[in-house]
């Protein structure tokens, strides 16, 4: 049975905050950036509250907010002046970049092209891909967005094809 919609923004944010921070940090890997993405999402939620309050179920409201936040994270990732997107760096930035400087620059450029390509995807595919890139399993993406697992698979499969055209020579520069 669908849960009744939330009556105020704080209750909604509180219920979904774990996902918001996980998704934002999974994509951005930086505390301040993740906080900005979540904060900007909350600002949009407050602005749009009359519309969000009118959604039929709590699940729809949660999906709305998660989608806003991952798209805010994408805006930050697309920023050409963002300095801390270091390939290979783990969550705390401990990893050492061992490749040559040229490889690193190339990989960084490739990754920005990937974010731009993701930005151009249709809305639901883009949102599914962003949650996947944040480390979510297919079934969890389906639950968060309120769609079927098979639909998630289809979106991710289409996205793979699209991204392989974006980086036709393959993906280089992943430092594991």
């Amino acid at each position: 049975m669908p849960q009744e919609p939330y009556r105020d923004p704080v209750s909604l944010v509180r219920s979904v905050l774990g996902d918001l921070s996980r998704a934002a940090y999974g994509l951005l890997g930086h505390y301040a950036d993740a906080e900005d993405a979540v904060q900007n999402g909350c600002c949009k939620l407050v602005m749009a509250w009359p519309r969000v309050a009118a959604l039929a179920t709590a699940g729809e409201q949660r999906a709305y907010l998660i989608r806003i936040v991952v798209n805010e994270a994408l805006q930050i990732l697309r920023d050409p002046y963002r300095r801390w997107e270091k390939l290979g760096a783990d969550a705390s930035g401990r990893a050492v970049l061992e490749s040559s400087f040229e490889d690193e620059i190339q990989a960084k450029d490739d990754l920005r092209r990937v974010w731009m390509a993701i930005s151009d995807m249709p809305d639901m595919r883009r949102d599914a891909v962003l949650l996947r890139a944040a480390g979510y399993e297919y079934r969890d993406i389906a639950a968060r967005l309120g769609i079927k697992v098979s639909t998630v698979r289809s979106h991710i499969s289409d996205a793979r094809k699209q991204l392989s055209r974006t980086l036709p020579r393959g993906w280089e520069g992943a430092h594991q």
Binding site: L17, R22, Y25, G26, A34, C43, D90, A91, G135
Partner: protein, 175 residues
């Protein structure tokens, strides 16, 4: 060690991002829901984006005749959090930061620039500022008393709805 993954093999860039996201998830920080929403509310109340652009020439003329143009040096506090709300302003040149005091630390929650109206949420009797507004550079603004603004809105009752619509459209693009 650099590693190449061809799209024809088991992995690709999306798999790489997924693995990275999963690693990061274990260290995802916790945020404060009340704080996030109160900042968002203060940002919403800090002013209306694009106010000037929704006014027609007659309305602009009326606004200008009831206001006075002032210039603020960089760093000037145009409005102070917690202070009595006595004025509204339309920024004509320059940018301002909307900031909240959080345990002595300044937190920037929004920016307001040319054409934006600031301070309108304080026009209700007894209201105080929910955030401070600070000039980020030299700012020129049309300054009007809250009673003057109330009279302006009484003469042009359609303006608030137009401003609300414009602000909403700007801030809630997608999804």
């Amino acid at each position: 060690m650099s590693k190449r993954i061809s799209p024809d093999e088991h992995g690709d860039v999306l798999d790489w991002l997924y693995e990275r996201g999963k690693r990061r998830a274990a260290e995802a920080p916790g945020f404060d829901a009340d704080k996030l929403v109160s900042r968002a509310t203060a940002a919403r109340d800090a002013g209306s984006a694009g106010f000037w652009s929704v006014l027609n020439p007659t309305e602009r003329e009326h606004f200008e005749s009831a206001a006075r143009m002032r210039e603020f040096a960089p760093g000037t506090v145009l409005m102070r959090e917690g202070a009595h709300a006595a004025e509204v302003m339309v920024i004509r040149d320059g940018w301002t930061k909307v900031v909240l005091d959080e345990d002595g630390q300044q937190r920037v929650i929004a920016e307001r620039g040319p054409g934006d109206l600031i301070g309108e949420s304080g026009t209700e009797p007894g209201n105080v500022r929910t955030a401070s507004v600070i000039a980020a550079g030299t700012v020129r603004a049309l300054v009007m008393t809250t009673s003057g603004y109330a009279a302006f809105i009484a003469d042009h009752p359609g303006v608030p709805d137009l401003v609300k619509k414009q602000t909403h459209d700007r801030r809630t693009g997608r999804p």
